[in-house]
Symmetry: C2
Subunit: 331 residues, 2 copies
C-alpha cells in the first residue's frame, strides 16, 4: 500500500528579515537532506497570502502562521499541524484562533547554539565593565578599568527552556555558579540548582547576573519588576534575551542612570524597531543589541527545517510532536 501524500503549505512574509523566510532553494536543500520524508510531501510555497487561500483548502500542515487568522478552521478544513518558525509565540496570543484539534508547534531548539555564544559574550562584557570602557573610548579617555576573574560569580537564569539552558551552559563554561528559576523548579542540566519562580525574590540578592529567558505570557509580564530590580546588588547586571516586557526596562534604565546597577545587555525592545527618540539608546552602562542574540545569520532556516523534518518523522509515526505549544500556558 502506497503511503498517502501529505500536503504542506509554506507561508512567507516579505516584511520579515530574509533570515525568517524559507526560499525554494532552502526548502529543496532541506528535502535533499531528508529524502525519505520529503518523498511523502507535496509542498506549496507562498508569499504574503498570494496563494494562501487555495493552499489552505488542501493543506494538512502549514509552516508559518498566516497574518490573518480569523475563521481559520473554515478556511483550512484539513489543517492538523501548524508550525511557526519563531520560538516566542507571544505575538499570536491568545491562541483562540487555532482550529480545534490542530496542533501548534514552535521553533524551540533552533536558537540554543547561538544563544550560548551570545551569552558567553554578554556575561563577560558586563563583568569586564565593557559598558564603562566603551563610554571612555567615546569620550577619548584612557582610564584603566580593571576587573577580577569571572570564575565563581553567580548567574540567576530565569526560564530554563532552549534559551535558558543555553544561558546556563554558557555560564558553566565560564566557571559561573548557575542558579535556575522555572515554573516547576525541576532540576535541569547544567544549572547547579533550580528553584520555582516563587523563590525569585529570595534569589535576586545573590545574583551577579540576572538573565531573562522566559516566554512572554500574561504571567511573565514585568516578572523582573521595579521592586524585584531593587533586590539586586548594585554591582550586578541584567541580560534580557527573551522579550522586552518580561522586565521593566524603564525601571531598569532609571537604576542604570542612578548608578544603582552596574550594567545591562538588552537584546529585545518594545517596540521593535526601537524608535530613535527612545531614551534607552543612551542610557549609561546599557548595551542594546538589535534582537540578534539567538539567530544564526546564515543557517537559521536550515536548522529550523531540520528540526521540522525531525518532527515530521514523529508525525508520520503518530508519535507525539515535540515543541507543542500549550494553548492554556501560552508557550
Amino acid at each position: 500500500m502506497a503511503a498517502r501524500t501529505i500536503r504542506v503549505h509554506i507561508e512567507n512574509a516579505r516584511a520579515k528579515d530574509a533570515l525568517f523566510q524559507i526560499t525554494p532553494a532552502q526548502w529543496d536543500a532541506a528535502c535533499a537532506r531528508h529524502p525519505a520524508l520529503a518523498r511523502r510531501l507535496e509542498a506549496s510555497l507562498g508569499w504574503d497570502e498570494d496563494i494562501l487561500e487555495g493552499a489552505l483548502k488542501e493543506a494538512e500542515i502549514v509552516i508559518g502562521v498566516p497574518a490573518r487568522r480569523e475563521r481559520l478552521a473554515e478556511r483550512a478544513p484539513r489543517l492538523k499541524w501548524l508550525h511557526t518558525t519563531l520560538a516566542g509565540v507571544d505575538a499570536y496570543l491568545p491562541l483562540d484562533w487555532l482550529p480545534p484539534g490542530a496542533i501548534f508547534t514552535n521553533n524551540r531548539g533552533a536558537h540554543g547554539m547561538k544563544a550560548e555564544q551570545f551569552m558567553r559574550m554578554a556575561y563577560t562584557m558586563l563583568h569586564t565593565r565593557m559598558p564603562e570602557i566603551l563610554a571612555d573610548q567615546r569620550a577619548r579617555r584612557w582610564r584603566q578599568v580593571f576587573s577580577p576573574s569571572l570564575i565563581g560569580k553567580t548567574a540567576l537564569v530565569v526560564g530554563l527552556g532552549d534559551l535558558g539552558q543555553a544561558a546556563a551552559r554558557a555560564g558553566k563554561q565560564l566557571g559561573l555558579k548557575v542558579i535556575g528559576v522555572s515554573r516547576t523548579g525541576k532540576k535541569v542540566q547544567p544549572a547547579d540548582a533550580v528553584y520555582a519562580v516563587t523563590a525569585l525574590d529570595r534569589l535576586l540578592p545573590r545574583a551577579d547576573f540576572v538573565v531573562m529567558a522566559v516566554p512572554l505570557t500574561p504571567e511573565t509580564r514585568h516578572l523582573l519588576s521595579r521592586a524585584r530590580l531593587d533586590l539586586m546588588k548594585p554591582t550586578a547586571g541584567v541580560i534580557n534575551i527573551a522579550r522586552a516586557p518580561v522586565a521593566d526596562h524603564e525601571a531598569l534604565a532609571e537604576k542604570l542612570r542612578r548608578g544603582d546597577l552596574a550594567g545591562a545587555v538588552l537584546d529585545v525592545m518594545e517596540p521593535e524597531p526601537l524608535p530613535p527618540e527612545s531614551p534607552l539608546w543612551d542610557t549609561p552602562n546599557l548595551i542594546i543589541t538589535p534582537h540578534i542574540s539567538c539567530d544564526d545569520g546564515e543557517h537559521y532556516m536550515d536548522i529550523t527545517l531540520d528540526l521540522w523534518f525531525e518532527n515530521l518523522a514523529r508525525y508520520l509515526k503518530n508519535k507525539p510532536l515535540k515543541n507543542r505549544v500549550d494553548p492554556r500556558r501560552g508557550y
Copy 2:
C-alpha cells in the same frame, strides 16, 4: 645547621596603578600562604627609592625593577635574582644593565586566566559584529546585524607564551580552529597546529581572527606589518593583547576606515595613556580597551607573589628558575 637568611627587597613605584604595587598587607598574606619559605626571608619594602640604596647593598633578591638601573652591579653587589612583576620586559631592553651572573625573571603565568576570559569575549564581540552594533546604538539606529555560528572559524595566534596559550584555550572552548605561530614552530597545546613564524605570510589569508600575543623585541616590532595586514581576509578581525608596536596600528586603522578589515580589538596602545587627540579613538569598527585584558583587578599581586614563592622554592633547592628572561632574546 640553621639555613641562612635570604635578604629580599621589594621596590614599589607610586606612579604605577595600585594593581602593580605590593602592599605590606599583600606581602604578609603571601608569606602566610607560604610559611616555610617565608621563614627563610628577611624582607624590606620600599617606595620610589626611599630605602633602595641601603637595601640594594644587602639584597640577594629584588622584586620590582628599580627605575634607575645604571651601575646596578656596584650598587647591588650581592644581587643574584631580580624579578619583575610584569610579563613584558620590553621597557627594560636591552638588558645590558643586568649585573653579570644575576638572574632576571618575569611574571609569566600571572596573566593567563584573565587573558583567556578576555579572549573569549574579544573573539565573540568581533564575530557578533559588536563594533557595528555599538556604532548603531550611538547613532540611535535599529538595524538587525546578524551573524552565523562562531564554531569552525579560524584563529591565528601569533606567539604561544602565557598569553598565546590563553588565546588558544579560549579559541578551542569556542569551537574555533586554532593555528599557532611561534619562533620554533614546536607543537603547543591546545593549538590544532603550530608553525614557525616564517610561515606567517602563508597562514594569514586563512585566518578569521589574528591574535597578537608575542613579546615586543627588535624582531617582533611591526611583525603584523602593513603588507601582512593586506594578506588578511576583509571579513577578518585583529586582536592585540601583547604590545602595540608588534602590529602596525596605523596601517590597521587605515584598513578599518576603508572597510578592508571587519574589526579589531586593541588592548595596547603607543603611547599609553593614549592621548585624546589620537585618531585611533574613533576609528570605525575598532574597540579600544585600556590595557586591562590580562590583569586580574583584585588578585593580580596575590597570583604574582604565589608564582614568585614557587620560584623561591626552586631557588632554595638550587633548581633552575622558571620564567628566566634570556638577555639575548629579550624575553
